[in-house]
Amino acid sequence: MASEVLGKRYAVAVKLARSPALEPAACSGKRLWYPPGMDLLWRFLLGGAMVSLFALIGDVLRPKRLAGIFGGAPSVALATLALTAAKSGPAVASLEARSMILSSLGFVLYVYVAERLLATARWSPLVVSLGGLTIWGLVAATAGVLLMRFAGT
């Protein structure tokens, strides 16, 4: 019975994922709805607050390697998943989280390469962290293509 309900929820989420835009009207039940501009404002404020909070904890925590784990904090994910679940439903947010699993691998590869390059002390953190984003981008793009091709969404 529970699996049937979950299956139905996923079917709705997949249908929404296939549509070019997630319209609030397409979401049934007690979903939050607010004007598009307000949605973006909430995203901006919540995302900014989460990133600042985790970065602040990373600033004051010692030793440095332990503080570094806050550089890999799911700050954008927490803000986005909370708003998506509230607006479009938990099944759609769950689909977003599934994509995140694969792009997290890109994040791990990105910071690992950054660590190796910075340890040589030949490259500045600005160059390494911005240049290395191409690594994350490549993994995320590959993950996107694979998901679209094989996950049926």
Partner: protein
């Protein structure tokens, strides 16, 4: 070394450094929402693991270390970059925790309330990352 809090780094920081991080975090979250609206949650979800904190933090760490050493008349660039490398090493552990966060959120969101699913996933991120740090400290290099 026992984990501790050192608030002196906040005194060395400038207000605009906090503003930049707030703006970048907000901008990335807005972009993720717009991409999800345009291309759907599968593509939008990829941006949930976007490195929003690391670039700004690594740059700030290097700057602080370099300034500290230059006050003492020493070129501290190399030390600053090595300090940023330590931060990156921690971010690798945080990245594995982030992967676990994604798995937990994916499985828990359709089954439990949003608050429970996200708080649980965030706790899992913290436990996995801190355990990896502890394990590396005791058994790693």
């Amino acid at each position: 070394m026992i984990p501790s809090l050192d608030f002196s780094s906040l005194k060395e920081a400038h207000w605009w450094q906090f503003a930049v991080r707030f703006f970048l975090g907000g901008a990335v979250t807005v972009c993720t929402g717009l991409i999800a609206q345009r291309f759907g949650p599968v593509v939008g979800g990829l941006f949930l693991a976007f490195p929003a904190i690391f670039p700004a933090t690594a740059t700030l760490i290097e700057r602080h270390e370099t300034e500290k050493k230059s006050k003492a008349g020493i070129d501290g660039r190399a030390r600053g970059r090595k300090a940023a490398a330590l931060d990156a090493a921690g971010a690798v552990l945080g990245g594995w925790g982030m992967l676990c966060f994604g798995c937990a959120a994916w499985l828990a969101l359709p089954r439990y309330s949003m608050a429970l699913a996200l708080v649980g996933a965030a706790l899992l991120w913290q436990i996995v990352s801190a355990s990896l740090w502890w394990g590396r400290r005791h058994w790693g290099r």
